[in-house]
């Protein structure tokens, strides 16, 4: 493949004005460092994102297992936890301050570093140029910078484990005054400062990535790739990128104000008359609820930043493996748009019981429940896609099916939570934990897994082991349901989330057995992930060599050479003639027709009203 790289280089030469000079200097003699570390190639950057995210996911999951150990066996002494955490778990019992740090960092790492950075970073980078048919991102330099900012922010976040008072411990939403006052909790000291620094870097990374993705999709589609011919993956990535570009800046302004409150004595979020440990603080005039508005203006779109890419990839994988066009392609696109739009005007449903104006509660009940409509459309369309299909059970397909199931389960509970009156009982209880872990956490993870299994051949030119993949799937989905389904019951009874132990109350301690059950399944689920990690790294080196189009898919990425080349296509970029879902078209011999096959070659199968 070396030769093709060489021929390619001429075509890529003057690709972008910004990187123009850079390319001249470095292109022909790529050392290991410039090829794999400071690479400007979107595929390499995608892989860098993925591997960083896998590492962060392992950290995030370990944190949750430590939490589960505490909740399942309160007061039990685990000597290895004592050895691992030192002064934070003397005698092998995790201390409350560290438990809250675990809660906070588990949330932050999973939401931002794995499911935003990992999911978006990996698949946007890998798939956008390949699926719309362009040689690279609009600005490869900015793209690489975006990754390195992400990397730096991950490092800062992880470094907070090593500060004296421990990492941030105010929950991932870091509501002030708790997060602003070091007097109030040990985690609001240096740990919180590092959290804010890390998030600022993360936002910078997200913005650099976001404007890049949007511009690439708008400007650089190959000939014939009209918007209505884009795969649903690209549609969802496109809308997600827009959400990120519009919502993250508001968190950024909030974060800066919080930094000022913490470090420079201002009181944007700190009201008069705060008395902490009998000491009257000097702050005056701020409003803690203002932070919640600024945070959730990002926070809610963030949920869809996490979920939409998974939806897009699942739609694609369902269609490929069901050998059937996705049902209601346009409805799916409109649903993505509707969800994207609505996600901006519903944020205060996280704040029904927060003391905000109750009238706003009414407004947000109204907008929130509307989200169920596009979600229902998507679900029914996925189901109809499966109707009279021809399903191939690849691991990716199993994950896509699992996604649909999780999305239904988790989505339905959202209807309870979206209704302010019902939310009085359920707000901040395990019902919420169950809801968002199923619909946003687990479902997005399933999207991520499906994506990894499906596009692994494109990333590493090797196939992953199917048997391991299937075992991984079954163990994961069973343990997920066993972990999160019972939590609904705890939530209905009103067991609050973020409790270090449930032994303080009779009404919560009736769930001790259930908690142990959950913890055991969490451990099983955690252990099952070893299968994926082993499969991933083993297949990278020892996997079966991939074929050009192993899943017989229609999209453009499968027309590139098996060994990836810089610039993606050694010759001309293929022109696109049809929508990406011509599977099992009557009149055509094969059960798929790739996007670049012109209608003139498929005469017998052409129909009126073809996309």
């Amino acid at each position: 493949m070396e030769t093709s790289t060489q021929t390619q280089s001429t075509a890529v030469h003057s690709h972008t004005n910004d990187v123009h000079i850079h390319e001249h200097e470095h292109h022909h003699h790529q050392s290991f460092i410039s090829k794999y570390i400071f690479s400007l190639d979107h595929k390499t950057i995608g892989k860098q994102y993925l591997i960083t995210a896998i590492f962060m996911a392992i950290v995030g999951m370990s944190l949750s297992l430590l939490m589960r150990a505490q909740l399942g066996w309160p007061g039990e002494q685990f000597s290895f936890i004592g050895k691992l955490l030192g002064k934070f778990a003397e005698g092998g019992i995790i201390k409350p301050e560290y438990y809250y740090a675990l809660v906070t960092l588990h949330g932050t790492i999973m939401v931002f570093f794995v499911l935003t950075g990992g999911l978006s970073g990996t698949f946007f980078n890998l798939l956008i140029p390949l699926q719309i048919g362009t040689r690279d991102m609009a600005s490869p330099l900015l793209n690489a910078l975006s990754y390195w900012f992400f990397f730096a922010s991950s490092c800062v976040m992880l470094s907070s484990f090593f500060v004296m008072a421990g990492p941030a411990s105010g929950g991932w939403t870091i509501y002030p005054p708790l997060s602003a006052l070091p007097e109030a909790t040990p985690g609001s000291g240096t740990g919180m400062t590092l959290w804010l620094v890390s998030m600022s870097l993360f936002i910078a990374s997200g913005l650099m990535g976001g404007i890049n993705y949007i511009s690439t999709v708008i400007n650089m589609r190959t000939k014939g790739m009209s918007l209505w011919k884009m795969p649903l993956t690209v549609w969802s990535f496109f809308i997600t990128a827009i959400l990120g570009v519009l919502s993250f800046p508001v968190l950024f302004s909030g974060a800066i104000m919080l930094v000022f409150d913490r470090s420079f004595g201002t009181s944007f979020f700190l009201p008069d008359g705060l008395v902490v440990a009998d000491k009257l603080l000097n702050h005056s005039g701020g409003s803690p609820i203002l932070w919640q508005h600024l945070f959730w203006f990002l926070g809610h779109p963030e949920v869809y930043i996490v979920l939409l890419p998974a939806m897009g990839m699942v739609s694609e994988i369902l269609s490929v493996n069901a050998r059937k066009p996705i049902f209601g392609y346009k409805a799916m696109v409109y649903a993505i748009m509707a969800i994207g739009f609505l996600s901006f005007i519903v944020w205060a449903h996280h704040m029904f019981q927060s003391g905000m104006n109750p009238f706003l509660g009414s407004v947000f009940v109204f907008t929130t429940l509307l989200i169920a409509i596009p979600s229902a459309v998507k679900t029914f369309n996925w189901l109809t896609t499966l109707y009279r299909s021809n399903i191939i059970f690849t691991p990716a397909m199993l994950y896509a099916l699992g996604f649909v199931s999780l999305f239904i389960t988790g989505g339905i509970t959202g209807i309870f939570l979206g209704n302010a009156a019902v939310d009085i009982q359920l707000h901040d209880t395990y019902f919420v934990v169950a809801h968002f872990h199923l619909v946003m956490g687990a479902a997005s993870f399933f999207g991520l897994f499906a994506g990894v299994y499906h596009w692994f051949p494109k990333m590493f030119s090797k196939m992953m082991n199917n048997t391991l993949g299937k075992w991984h799937f079954w163990l994961t989905i069973i343990s997920l349901y066993c972990v999160f389904f019972p939590m609904h019951y705890m939530g209905m009874a009103g067991v609050p989330r973020r409790y270090y132990a449930f032994t303080e109350y009779e009404w919560t301690s009736m769930f001790t057995d259930l908690n142990r059950f959950i913890s055991i399944w969490a451990l099983i689920g955690g252990a099952a992930q070893v299968l994926l990690i082993f499969n991933f790294f083993w297949s990278m080196f020892k996997g079966k060599p991939a074929t050009a189009n192993p899943w017989k898919a229609n999209t453009l990425e499968w027309t590139t050479p098996i060994k990836p080349v810089h610039g993606n296509w050694p010759g001309e970029i293929p022109e696109v003639h049809r929508w990406p879902y011509d599977y099992s078209k009557p009149g055509h011999e094969e059960d798929y027709i790739p996007q670049h096959i012109p209608y003139s070659e498929t005469g017998s199968s052409n129909r009126k009203g073809d996309y």
Partner: protein, 352 residues
């Protein structure tokens, strides 16, 4: 695809097992379903919860069922092709508009309930001022004059004057403070909620009351309790009393008889609560009080017992290290008992 059929079947079996388990879990543990509320508005929100459940449950079963069914019915066969069925406007319209109508109905129900709950409290409501701090709850009644005295942040001392009552203000002289709440049954109670340091959440799970205590501002919530603590306790006792297996699940139970071991030493008294674990003075968790162990040693296989029940106030918003144990007792009493309790209280002013 040689193992298509296997996977399809596996999926189907798993799906059916999933649905069966969901229902089994429910019918096996009916007490896990939303416990009955003991406030007037709570009954309404519970009703809304039930409505939502009856709407979503069929959707849940049908969609999950179809998912597993389709997977079971259509595994890959080399000799057949899938249907080319890209869209159907009518179908799509139907499943856009039907959920829209159903949700609209739910929204309207929800808005009305919400508006009623959030409407201003009736004028004759009993007002209780709630002040949250790390990690305790303070309550204050206005006393005879019906007016609360000033409180000032600079006077707040956790040990002597946690809510900083200013005794220079004559209105505060008859104010009554307490660390636990007493409220009369059947009367509207308005909680005026505030916080000293960070955000807490005033949460009465059995009354469906939850409202954040936000520093710097006053939030409120009013409710009307329908059952006294004693009645509720009796109610729970009646429904849960029975012979219980002596095993590790026997906790949170109240023994209905006195059980002794072979030497005649009392293991558990009548009315004694069997706890799973307790805390010593230093707040460290001490393992089970050994009641279960001693009972089984004494050869007792089953005991007559019932669930213990107390109303409780908890904190529902992460507020620091003691968040999980920021509790207070709440007792609902009859009006006479309430008046009696009130008359026995000494205003803080007299201690000054």
């Amino acid at each position: 695809m040689k193992n298509s059929r296997l996977n399809a079947t596996l999926f189907f079996v798993a799906g059916i097992a999933f649905l069966i388990l969901v229902f089994y879990a429910h019918f096996q543990n009916p007490q896990w379903y939303l416990p009955a509320a003991t406030s007037v508005h709570g009954l309404v929100t519970d009703h809304l919860f039930d409505i939502t459940m009856w709407i979503t449950l069929p959707v849940f079963v049908i969609t999950q069922g179809l998912l597993f069914l389709f997977v079971f019915l259509y595994p890959h066969r080399d000799d057949k092709k899938a249907d080319y069925y890209p869209n159907n406007h009518k179908l799509e319209l139907i499943w856009t508009i039907v959920p829209a109508i159903v949700l609209t109905w739910l929204i309207v129900q929800g808005l009305q309930t919400w508006a009623n709950i959030k409407s201003p409290a009736p004028a004759d409501a009993e007002v209780i001022e709630v002040t949250a701090e790390q990690f305790a709850w303070n309550f204050r009644w206005s006393g005879k004059d019906g007016k609360f005295g000033r409180n000032k942040p600079e006077l707040m001392k956790a040990s002597t004057n946690p809510i900083g009552i200013d005794f220079d203000d004559s209105l505060s002289h008859d104010d009554i403070t307490s660390k636990e709440i007493f409220i009369p049954v059947g009367k509207t109670v308005l909680f005026n909620i505030q916080a000293k340091d960070v955000i807490h959440s005033f949460y009465l799970p059995h009354f469906r009351v939850k409202m954040d205590a936000v520093p710097g501002m006053r939030t409120n919530f009013w409710m009307n309790p329908t059952m006294t603590s004693a009645d509720k306790k009796e109610d729970v006792k009646r429904t849960t009393k029975g012979l219980k297996e002596v095993d590790e699940r026997l906790y949170g139970q109240v023994s209905d008889e006195t059980y002794k071991d072979a030497n005649g030493n009392v293991i558990v008294e009548k009315g004694g609560i069997i706890k799973r674990a307790e805390r010593d003075q230093n707040g460290n968790l001490v393992k089970s009080t050994d009641v279960v162990l001693r009972l089984s040693k004494a050869g007792i296989k089953k005991i007559m017992a019932y669930h213990d029940f107390n109303y409780v106030l908890a904190c529902a918003e992460l507020c620091g290290l003691g968040h999980y144990k920021m509790r207070a007792a709440i007792t609902v009493v009859t009006q006479q008992e309430y008046d009696k309790w009130m008359s026995e209280q000494t205003p803080d002013f007299e201690y000054q």
